[in-house]
C-alpha cells in the first residue's frame, strides 16, 4: 500500500507483465490495486490508453475498466488508509465468536464498515469467507492473517501498524 509510488510507472509495469489482451484486464487492475493501494481515476485513464488497440481488435473504454474495478471486492476505486483491516463476516466465523469480535473491532478502531479514520491510518472493511474457517474468527490486516482472534488481542494486533 504505497500511494507515493509513481502511478504511471505502476500502470506501465502491470500492462507489460500481463499483456494487453482482455484476459489480462483483471490481473492488471489487481496489480495496480496492490501496488498503489487503490485504483484512482487517473490509473484507469492511463491503463485504457495502453489497452485500447483497435488494430488488434481489442476495444476497451474507461467506463468498462471502471465497471470492472468497481465490481470486484479486492479492487477499490476509493482511497484507503495506510492499512486495511478486513473482517470476515460469514456464518462460520460469526458463530465461532465473530459476532462478539466484530463489535470489539468497531469499538477499538472507532470505525464502522467502509470507514477510514481521520489520520488515514486504518480503513475497516468487511469481507466474505476467506476459506480460513478452521481458525475462525479471522481478521486480515494488509496481507497478515490473524486466526482465533479474541477481543483481548485487538489492541496488541493494531499496535503493530503505524
Amino acid at each position: 500500500m504505497n500511494p507515493t509510488k509513481d502511478l504511471t510507472q505502476i500502470v506501465q509495469t502491470a500492462v507489460e507483465r500481463h499483456g494487453a489482451q482482455p484476459d489480462a484486464f483483471i490481473p492488471i487492475l489487481l496489480e495496480i490495486n496492490h501496488e498503489y493501494g487503490y485504483i484512482p481515476a487517473q490509473a484507469i485513464r492511463q491503463a485504457r490508453v495502453l489497452l485500447h488497440q483497435p488494430e488488434e481488435h481489442v476495444l476497451v473504454s474507461e467506463g468498462q475498466l471502471y465497471g470492472v474495478a468497481s465490481f470486484y471486492h479486492m479492487l477499490s476505486v476509493q482511497a484507503v488508509g495506510r492499512h486495511v483491516v478486513k473482517f470476515c463476516e460469514s456464518a462460520p466465523c460469526h458463530v465461532q465468536g465473530g459476532r462478539e469480535l466484530w463489535r470489539a473491532v468497531q469499538q477499538e478502531l472507532g470505525l464502522q464498515a467502509g470507514e477510514t479514520d481521520p489520520q488515514n491510518r486504518f480503513t475497516l472493511k468487511t469481507v466474505s469467507c476467506l476459506g480460513l474457517c478452521g481458525v475462525g474468527p479471522v481478521m486480515v490486516v494488509d496481507d497478515d492473517v490473524y486466526g482465533n482472534v479474541t477481543p483481548e488481542q485487538l489492541p496488541n494486533i493494531f499496535a503493530r501498524y503505524e
Binding site: 489482451q21 482482455p22 484476459d23 489480462a24 484486464f25 483483471i26 490481473p27 487492475l29 489487481l30 468498462q64 465497471g67 470492472v68 465490481f71 470486484y72 471486492h73 479486492m74 479492487l75 463476516e89 460469514s90 456464518a91 462460520p92 460469526h94 458463530v95 465461532q96 459476532r99 468487511t126 469481507v127 466474505s128 469467507c129 476467506l130 476459506g131 480460513l132 474457517c133 478452521g134 475462525g136
Partner: protein, 540 residues
C-alpha cells in the same frame, strides 16, 4: 475413565448366528488378546444392523467401516491390518448399499483422530507440493500415461461408469459433461478448473491445490485430451495467493518435464495451461460468471442455455469442473470404475470432503465415503460438542446449502438421500451450531452475505436480497410485524423462480429453512419481543 480408541461391533442377530457369528466373535476375543489390544479396543455384539446381505457383519468405529460377510478366518487379518496398523481391509468391505440410517446408532465417544478414506487428499501433507518428483513417486502422471494410451472415448466411458458426480455443488454427472464437450465440433475448445471456492465455510479446494497441485494439472491434461481442447485455465480466487503460486510452480515443472506444451509424452497431443486470478466476487464461482471474469469483464452470469459445454469461453465449447471433481479423475483412471464404486453408496459413489466447523471439539477437513450421517460427523470426526453444548442445527454446504435441524441428523449424506430430504449437500461445509445460536441471527448473517455478493444484474436477486435483509434485521431489532413472515415467504418464492442464476435462487433457502424448522423462534422475536437463544438485542 477409560477410553477405547476403537470399537468393534459384531452382528449377532439370529441370521448372523446361523452363519457363524459366534465363531467370529470368539476369534476377535482371542486375536485381540494375541495382539495385546484388549486394553484399547472394545468389542460388543449388536443385533439388527438394518441390512441382511452381508451377515455376519463387523463394523469398526471410529471409522464406521462396514465389513461383511466375515468368517472367523478373516478376523486375524482384520485385527492386524485395521486395528493394529490402521489400514482398512478394502477387499473385506461389505457390498456398497444405501445405508438405512440405522448404522448411525453409535454413542458419542472420544479418542484418537479417526482414520478416513482419502482419495482426493491422499497425497496432501505427505509429499512436497513444490516438487514434481515427489508427485511422480506417488503414482503421479501414471493416469495420464494410461489415458494417452487409450482412446479419449474409452476414458470418458471409465468416468461415466465410475458414477463420479460434480463436487462443485450441483452434483452433475462428470462423465456425461465430458461427453457433451467431446461431442461438439469446434477447432478450439477449453477446459477450465473452477477454483473460485468462495462458499462460506469451505476450504477443501484450497487444501487440495496447496497440498497436491499436480493432481489438478494431471486431471486437466486428461480432460483436455478427452474433450479435444488445447488450452486450459485454472480460475483461482484472488484471496488464495499460496494456491496460485503453487500452481504456477507446478505448471513450469510440468512444462520442463514435457507434460504440458507440444506433443505431450510423444503422443502428438498438445495442451497448455494458465492460472487466472479472481478478484473477490462470490458470484464468479458460478461457471458462466467465471468465464465472463476470465474474459476481463464484470462477473455477471450469462443467460443459459446455451451452456458452456457448447458456448463457453470466448464462445467456444468449454468444460468446467470443480477442483475436487478433477482430483478424483486420475485415481479413477488408474484404479478403474469398479474400485471407485466400492466406496460410498450406489447412487453417490466415492468419497466427499467435508469441512467441519462451529461448536465442535475438532474443526477441520475430512474425506470420508459418501453416505455417512451428520451424527457420525459430529460425534466421530468432530469429536463431539464442547461440554454443555447440545446440537441445535447444522448449516450444510455453505450459504447456498441448507439448514438442518437435529431431527434430520441421521440422514445419510449422499446426493440422493439429501435430495429426497429436501436438503442440499452443496460444497460440503458443515457448520455445527449449538443451542446458543439463534436461527434468526444465522438467517440474517446469511442474507447479508447474499445481499453483499449479489452481482446486481437481475432485479429479483438484487432487490429481493436487500429487502429480505432489511425485514430480517428489523425483526431482529424488535421492529417486526406478524405479516413480515408472509412477505418473506413471498420474497423467497420470487427470488427462487425469477433469479437468473443460482445465487438469487438459493438466497431463498435460509428464509425457507428457517421458517420451516424454526418458525416459533422467529415469531418469539416478533410477538413476544424476546430472542429465545439470548443472542439478539431485540429491544435495543
Amino acid at each position: 475413565m477409560k477410553f477405547n480408541r476403537s470399537l468393534v461391533l459384531v452382528s449377532k442377530d439370529p441370521e448372523s448366528l446361523r452363519r457363524g457369528a459366534e465363531d467370529v466373535y470368539k476369534q476377535f476375543q482371542s486375536s485381540l488378546a494375541e495382539f495385546d489390544l484388549q486394553g484399547e479396543v472394545a468389542l460388543a455384539p449388536i443385533a439388527d444392523v438394518g441390512r441382511h446381505d452381508a451377515l455376519p457383519m463387523v463394523i469398526i468405529y471410529p471409522e464406521a467401516s462396514a465389513y461383511g460377510p466375515i468368517r472367523a478366518g478373516d478376523v486375524p487379518r482384520l485385527v492386524e491390518e485395521h486395528l493394529l496398523k490402521g489400514r482398512q481391509v478394502e477387499d473385506l468391505f461389505a457390498p456398497v448399499k444405501e445405508l438405512s440410517g440405522r448404522v448411525g446408532w453409535l454413542k458419542s465417544r472420544k479418542g484418537a483422530q479417526p482414520m478416513e478414506k482419502r482419495i482426493v487428499t491422499r497425497r496432501v501433507g505427505r509429499i512436497d507440493p513444490e516438487n514434481i518428483e515427489d508427485y511422480i513417486a506417488e503414482e503421479g502422471y501414471q493416469a495420464l500415461a494410461k489415458a494417452l494410451a487409450a482412446q479419449p472415448a474409452q476414458v470418458v466411458e471409465w468416468l461415466e461408469k465410475s458414477g463420479l458426480q460434480g463436487r462443485g455443488g450441483a452434483g452433475f454427472p462428470t462423465g456425461l459433461k465430458w461427453r457433451f464437450v467431446a461431442g461438439t465440433k469446434s477447432a478450439k475448445k477449453y477446459v477450465v478448473c473452477n477454483a473460485d471456492e468462495s462458499e462460506p465455510g469451505t476450504f477443501k479446494d484450497r487444501v487440495i491445490l496447496e497440498g497436491d497441485p499436480h493432481s489438478i494439472l494431471e486431471a486437466l491434461i486428461i480432460a483436455a485430451y478427452c474433450v479435444g481442447a488445447d488450452e486450459g485455465f485454472v480460475y483461482v480466487r484472488g484471496e488464495y495467493g499460496l494456491a496460485q503460486s503453487r500452481l504456477q510452480n507446478a505448471i513450469s515443472q510440468a512444462r520442463a518435464y514435457g507434460l504440458l506444451g507440444k506433443d505431450i509424452l510423444g503422443s502428438g497431443f498438445s495442451f497448455d495451461l494458465h492460472v487466472h486470478s479472481g478478484a473477490g466476487a462470490y458470484v464468479c464461482g458460478e461457471e458462466t460468471a467465471l468465464l465472463e471474469s476470465i474474459e476481463g469483464k464484470r462477473g455477471e452470469p450469462r443467460a443459459r442455455p446455451p451452456y458452456p459445454t457448447t458456448r463457453g469461453l470466448w464462445g467456444k465449447p468449454t468444460l468446467v469442473n470443480n477442483v475436487e471433481t478433477l482430483a478424483n479423475v486420475p485415481a479413477i483412471v488408474l484404479n478403474g470404475a469398479e474400485w471407485y464404486r466400492s466406496f460410498g453408496t450406489p447412487s453417490s459413489p466415492g468419497t466427499k470432503t467435508y469441512t467441519i466447523l462451529g461448536n465442535v471439539n475438532f474443526r477441520g477437513l475430512i474425506e470420508v465415503p459418501m453416505g455417512i450421517t451428520l451424527r457420525e460427523v459430529i460425534n466421530i470426526y468432530g469429536q463431539g460438542m464442547p461440554p454443555g453444548s447440545t446440537f441445535k442445527l447444522a448449516q450444510t454446504g455453505g450459504s447456498s446449502g441448507s439448514i438442518i435441524p437435529a431431527s434430520l441428523q441421521d440422514t445419510p449424506m449422499d446426493f440422493e438421500s439429501f435430495r429426497k430430504a429436501g436438503v442440499s449437500l452443496g460444497s460440503g461445509a458443515l457448520l455445527i451450531c449449538d443451542e446458543h445460536t439463534c436461527a434468526l441471527d444465522l438467517a440474517v448473517t446469511l442474507m447479508k452475505f447474499f445481499q453483499f455478493e449479489s452481482c446486481g444484474k437481475c432485479t429479483p436477486c438484487r432487490v429481493g436480497t436487500a429487502r429480505a435483509y432489511k425485514i430480517l434485521t428489523d425483526i431482529q431489532k424488535g421492529k417486526g410485524k406478524p405479516q413480515d413472515l408472509e412477505t418473506l415467504t413471498q420474497l423467497a418464492g420470487e427470488m427462487e423462480y425469477a433469479s437468473n442464476c443460482g445465487l438469487g435462487q438459493t438466497a431463498s433457502v435460509p428464509i425457507r429453512d428457517t421458517l420451516r424448522h424454526f418458525r416459533a423462534e422467529v415469531e418469539a422475536h416478533i410477538l413476544l419481543g424476546v430472542c429465545p437463544a439470548g443472542v439478539c438485542n431485540v429491544n435495543g
